[in-house]
């Protein structure tokens, strides 16, 4: 085991652990936000830059600081490393910048977005952003498209975290979508009209940190804070059958994987469980899920109001400052 100190908290971890995972082991405020890293997807991380931290001492042996901020999700700890996250003004400033970059081309319409209430970008904006945008230029826009009859893609909301691409590569073996073009013209697409058909393709919805990939079978369009998540399971010959079902009264509004406080599913689930089993009787219900992560649902922040005041404000209609 090796020792790393993050914001003054000492943590013992296995060699090879990243700074982010070390922080997650300790938990609490010192955990950097992560929009692209997903522990279950090989190669993910490094892209969004929200998890940047300052390494003020590289290791016991070589205590020199690292010259630049590093992505905590893809930097392994060294024995004796000292890291600053929320105790470094430089980190907070850089993170504010990253959040602003992620938002400049993001639409300002959280109130009408299907992901509202469980969007990691929305959370991130609350915690690290500033309420005003300095962006006066035109925003990037795309039409909504259906990829198959179960999944909808609204590229306008995408933050290009690549998670759905890794998922298709690693969880399914028939990737038909990917990142096309480059720079800020990049888009998630199938290029030609193509359908994502695969037993596990629905997992791209769960890994998407924003409302770019959504479940078309979420029949009764509803704010997530009106539905209650419950742990449930069934016998399934394709996956573990362990899911979260989102209920409104006696009705199953939708089915997802069980997400932990970092928004990661415990297990990937199959499309049968996700899209086809919409009767309460399909499921053995274990009980309500706790919503752990610092989120708009958890803190019930969103429920107060959903009005967007002016386009000059980033679309959190209920931030009044």
């Amino acid at each position: 085991m090796i020792k790393v100190t993050i914001d003054g908290v000492e943590i013992m971890v296995e060699p090879g652990t990243t700074i982010l995972n070390a922080a997650r082991q300790a938990g609490g405020d010192i955990v950097p936000p992560a929009m692209c890293y997903y522990s279950k997807l090989k190669g993910s991380g490094g892209k969004c830059r929200t998890c940047l931290v300052k390494v003020s001492a590289g290791s016991e042996k070589d205590p020199r600081p690292m010259p630049k901020l590093v992505a905590s999700c893809s930097t392994p700890v060294q024995d004796g490393m000292v890291v600053q996250n929320i105790t470094s003004p430089e980190v907070l400033e850089a993170r504010k910048g990253v959040v602003e970059f992620l938002l400049i081309n993001h639409p300002l319409d959280c109130p009408v977005c299907d992901q509202a209430g469980e969007c990691h970008l929305q959370d991130l904006g609350f915690q690290h952003g500033s309420a005003k945008t300095r962006y006066e230029e035109e925003r990037r826009q795309f039409d909504k498209i259906d990829i198959g009859d179960k999944i909808q893609l609204h590229m306008t909301r995408c933050i290009l975290c690549y998670r759905c691409v890794y998922t298709a590569d690693q969880i399914t073996n028939q990737r038909v979508h990917g990142v096309l073009k480059r720079g800020d013209a990049s888009e998630i697409s199938t290029y030609i009209e193509n359908v994502i058909e695969n037993d596990f393709s629905g997992n791209v919805i769960d890994v998407c940190p924003v409302g770019a990939l959504t479940d078309k079978t979420f029949r009764f369009k509803s704010r997530v804070w009106f539905v209650k998540p419950m742990n449930a399971h069934r016998d399934c010959n394709k996956c573990s059958g362990k899911v979260a079902i989102w209920m409104h009264g006696e009705e199953v509004y939708r089915v997802t994987g069980r997400k932990d406080k970092y928004g990661e599913v415990e297990e990937f689930i199959c499309n049968d469980c996700r899209f086809e089993k919409k009767q309460k009787s399909d499921w053995v219900i274990e009980g309500p899920r706790e919503v752990e992560r610092w989120s708009v649902i958890g803190q019930n922040k969103y429920a107060v109001g959903t009005k967007v005041t002016a386009p000059q404000n980033i679309g959190y209609g209920n931030i009044i400052d």
Binding site: G45, G46, K47, C48, R49, T50, L52, K68, L69, A71, S74, E93, A94, G97, V98, E100, F101, L102, I104, N105, R134, Y135, E137, E138, I159, L160, Y162, V179, K181, R182, G183, D184, A185, S186
Partner: protein
């Protein structure tokens, strides 16, 4: 008159052909190298003090020594011929005019590194140069300098040319490797560095065309002799591609340490600014390095004359200095509008960002749009500080140095030519339809030299 190590025979008719090149002493460095051990060849390169000519100036011998020799995986040398940094056209000149020099350098270097397959990754637009290089490779093979059992030493080497398809980012070494693997040119996260895990996960060295060509004179002269040329830690000669509003644009080989005044004004090199005009600003090392107003170009902030070397051009850091970079030398006269020029560079980086990481993907486009507005008379005063801040938030926070390269030119242009930006905002009607600067209308702080 400086030494000519790379371009000595450049004007010899048909120097592109093997026979003429050989008659002028070509491939002697291969013969010499293969009589040495690979480590001895590397030792010469270390002694020469050669620094990477692709832009970063990292000591080549040291880079080579990082190559992992312990694994049983094959080792690769990859030649970076992507040359896309605005202002830079020296590698192209070398490959077009004297292709065998590169091939010879590649053979010596591959031998030193233990590479049996070496790839030249050339930018897609240089289509016709692919043919020139492939012809040179075939000739060298025919003469026994490539292929199996070269000169009876048991050493095998093949060299292949792989063409890119239009992406500046593929000049970044890990993006280049991705591209060479047939993928999008997205730079990789480092570590691991290519020396440990590069092409196909094997230990790999990526070097610039000119760096690898310079190995030939190093072997011929000895590392020690090569190191005597130049100044301080800037040893040897360097190709500078000079362009902009000068009398003699072109590619020049200089001894590092040549006074900048001489380089810009002597008839042997740039020949000075075109008739009737005066120097306004210089970008000494390709579009990514900070622009310098005339007076800071000639002399550093302490009033000492600058020379063409890594150290002297960067004297003053980012506040009052710049960098030698790739050797893409752009001299601008008083007609050049700095705002327009900065916008064009911002557009370039916006266009070339791979889009992987958010600060660069979003920030480059943002800067371009704001600069475009200012240039076309729709700017606000607060836009100037906004640009400085956006540049600051990109810099250092990205996966690869393209983010920095996009941020620096904007930051430097505002630092040194703020009044010109303000003028654009104050007098939108005057700038709206004009592509060139309005020297009569406003006073810039700069002293035209």
């Amino acid at each position: 008159m400086g030494q000519k190590l790379l371009l000595e025979h450049i004007n010899v008719p048909e120097i592109q052909t093997y026979n003429v090149y050989r008659a002028k002493g070509g491939y002697k460095a291969v013969e010499k190298s293969l009589k040495m051990s690979p480590d001895e060849v590397m030792e010469e390169v270390k002694k020469s003090g050669l620094r990477g000519r692709g832009g970063a100036g990292f000591p080549t011998g040291m880079k080579w020594s990082f190559l992992d020799r312990k694994t049983d995986k094959p080792r690769y040398l990859v030649c970076n011929a992507d040359e896309s940094e605005p202002g830079t056209f020296k590698d192209r000149f070398l490959m077009e005019k004297i292709p065998h020099l590169l091939i010879e350098g590649l053979i010596c270097s591959s031998y030193a590194l233990g590479s049996n397959t070496t790839y030249i990754y050339i930018r897609g637009e240089y289509k016709w140069i692919v043919g020139i290089l492939e012809k040179a490779i075939a000739e060298a093979k025919n003469a026994g300098f490539l292929g199996k059992n070269i000169l009876g030493t048991g050493y095998d080497l093949e060299i292949y040319v792989n063409n890119g398809a239009g992406a500046y980012i593929c000049g970044e070494e890990t993006a280049l490797l991705e591209s060479l693997e047939g993928k999008r040119g997205n730079p990789r996260m480092k570590p691991p560095f290519p020396a440990i895990s590069g092409l196909y996960g094997s230990p790999t060295v990526v070097n610039n065309v000119e760096t690898l060509a310079a190995v030939v004179p190093i072997i011929n002269l000895s590392g020690e002799e090569y190191a005597k040329i130049g100044i301080g830690k800037s040893t040897g000669t360097k190709l500078i591609s000079a362009c902009g509003n000068i009398r003699n644009p072109g590619v020049y080989e200089i001894d590092l340490g040549l006074p900048v005044y001489e380089f810009l004004n002597s008839d042997e090199y740039c020949g000075g600014i075109r008739d009737g005009h005066r120097l306004k600003a210089v970008i000494p090392g390709g579009s990514s390095v900070p622009i310098l107003p005339a007076e800071l170009f000639y002399k550093n902030i302490k009033g000492e004359e600058r020379n063409m070397s890594y150290e002297s051009l960067s004297d003053g850091g980012f506040v009052s200095g710049s960098m030698l970079g790739s050797g893409g030398f752009v001299a601008m006269d008083e007609t050049v509008c700095i705002v327009r020029n900065t916008w064009s560079f911002a557009r370039f980086y916006h266009h070339e960002s791979c889009g992987q990481c958010s600060p660069c993907r979003e920030g480059t486009g943002w800067m371009e749009k704001v600069l475009h507005r200012i240039e076309y008379g729709h700017g606000h005063m607060h836009d100037i500080d906004l640009l400085v801040d956006v540049a600051k938030k990109i810099e250092g926070n990205t996966i690869c140095p393209l983010g920095d390269a996009a941020a620096w030119p904007v930051a430097a242009a505002i630092r040194h030519f703020r009044e010109e930006f303000e003028y654009h905002i104050k007098y939108p009607d005057k700038v709206k339809n004009s592509r060139f600067a309005h020297l009569d209308d406003y006073k810039t702080s700069l002293q035209l030299a």
